[in-house]
């Protein structure tokens, strides 16, 4: 793709659940003081209804005043393709390369604060994972609200992007529970666990295809890798259980450890 609407793409940044990210030059129409923006182009047809609903969700997301959230700038559609543009953070995400524990913990504190700010506004993120936690200024910002279910109603996994990221999704959501703040807390804990231990809650899934991964996840209980500091282990275990801390508690407890 060369561009969309009045965005001119410079390069592809990656793909996520249900779409592709591009680096683009900011069009003059968008009143922010930056040269570059990130643009997400959604797969799947955009109709009048999906456009209205997606734009509404993004407007609500953008209205949450939080220093820990990536700022969306603009949403639109052209020829039945939906896109939105947002702040571009050049340092990449937690998924790009292994980071030392103190960086991981700082990033997760910020991501949890972002999540708490969303929850306070009545928004569930639905897609928290290492690839959506963008490193920035020693901390991080949370990006990319999960919008897949707007484009395909009822979908819990689109089958696009890296299927391995399904290990960061609360299995209750996979099994069809509607979105709840507790699911985000589960994802924060799964992300923290993965970044600190380099192991997934379901063991090593590399090399398995999508279907095997899903069957494995639906048939296995999450299990923490050994070697985590006791307090971190306890925090993660609590976030996977039936009585979870809030995102804000999660941030505070991690901050107390850092």
């Amino acid at each position: 793709m060369q561009g969309i609407a009045d965005y001119e793409f410079i390069k592809q940044l990656g793909s996520g659940n249900h779409g592709y990210f591009y680096l683009a030059r900011r069009p003059a129409r968008v009143p922010v003081d930056v040269e570059f923006v990130a643009v997400k182009v959604m797969a799947g047809e955009s109709s009048g209804t999906t456009f209205r609903r997606a734009t509404r969700e993004l407007t609500a997301f953008a209205a949450v005043r939080s220093p820990y959230l990536v700022a969306p700038y603009d949403a639109g559609q052209q020829d039945g393709i939906f896109y939105y543009s947002m702040e571009y953070l050049p340092d990449g995400s937690l998924a790009d390369r292994p980071a030392p524990p103190e960086v991981v913990i700082r990033a997760l504190i910020d991501a949890a604060r972002a999540t708490a700010d969303l929850h306070d506004a009545g928004i569930v993120h639905r897609d928290i994972k290492p690839g959506n936690i963008l490193l920035h200024g020693g901390g991080a910002k949370l990006s990319d609200l999960g919008l897949a279910q707007i484009f395909t109603e009822g979908v819990t996994i689109t089958g696009m992007g890296d299927i391995g990221s399904v290990q960061f999704m609360d299995p209750a959501m996979l099994m069809g529970e509607s979105a709840h703040p507790d699911h985000d807390v589960w994802s924060l804990a799964a992300t923290l666990h993965h970044q600190l231990t380099r192991a997934g809650l379901y063991g090593d899934m590399s090399g398995k295809d999508g279907l095997l991964i899903l069957r494995h996840i639906l048939g296995t209980l999450p299990c923490l890798a050994p070697g985590l500091p006791t307090l971190v282990h306890e925090l993660i275990a609590e976030c996977l259980g039936p009585h979870r801390p809030t995102a804000s508690d999660f941030a505070n407890r991690l901050a107390a450890l850092a």
Binding site: R53, R56, T156
Partner: protein, 174 residues
């Protein structure tokens, strides 16, 4: 080159429109609550949400909103929540009444426009061939068009070169 765009930046963004709920396709069914208040199929022994045993409990059946009965898991690992009916095919749009559409976009040679419907009745899931040209298959069996076939968790349903499974963590009956 025409496009439609809205700024999202606070101060520039249009006022937030009222939430536009999608049609709630969930139905009411007869069920029972576990001790923790989770609504369940009266035929199961363990709560499907929290796993608590309901065997020793006096259960009072009542009507409630049917929870998801599991997922449809496709060969490309796309999954769909089973809290409503689905119509699956190449162009499933027109048959959307009371059901969501799953449009298959590749590997669709031999898939009919409206190929198969997955339908929820009470606490069971059934599959109905919609008169497709090449049929809906479960193993060696071709489904009779228009006749619902109840499927158990783990069942694999084939339509031409594509397939999907009904997956659920639901355990056996009482």
């Amino acid at each position: 080159m025409t496009f439609e765009a809205h700024l999202l930046i606070p101060g520039y963004a249009p006022p937030l429109a009222p939430a536009e709920e999608t049609a709630d396709l969930r139905s009411f069914v007869e069920g029972v609550n576990c001790k923790n208040g989770h609504f369940n199929d009266p035929a199961v022994i363990y709560c499907q949400r929290c796993g608590i045993s309901m065997a020793q409990q006096t259960l009072v059946p009542h009507r409630g909103l049917r929870p998801s009965l599991g997922v449809l898991l496709f060969d490309d690992s796309a999954t769909y929540r089973l809290d409503a009916d689905y119509v699956i095919g190449r162009e499933p749009r027109e048959l959307g009444a009371g059901a969501r559409a799953i449009r298959l976009t590749y590997g669709v040679g031999g898939v009919s426009r409206q190929h198969v419907r997955v339908s929820l009745t009470g606490w069971t899931v059934s599959v109905i061939d919609l008169g497709s040209s090449n049929g809906t298959w479960i193993g060696e069996q071709r489904l009779e068009p228009g006749v619902p076939m109840v499927v158990a968790p783990g069942t694999r349903i084939e339509i031409a070169r594509r397939w999907f499974r009904y997956e659920s963590h639901r355990s056996g009956g009482r």
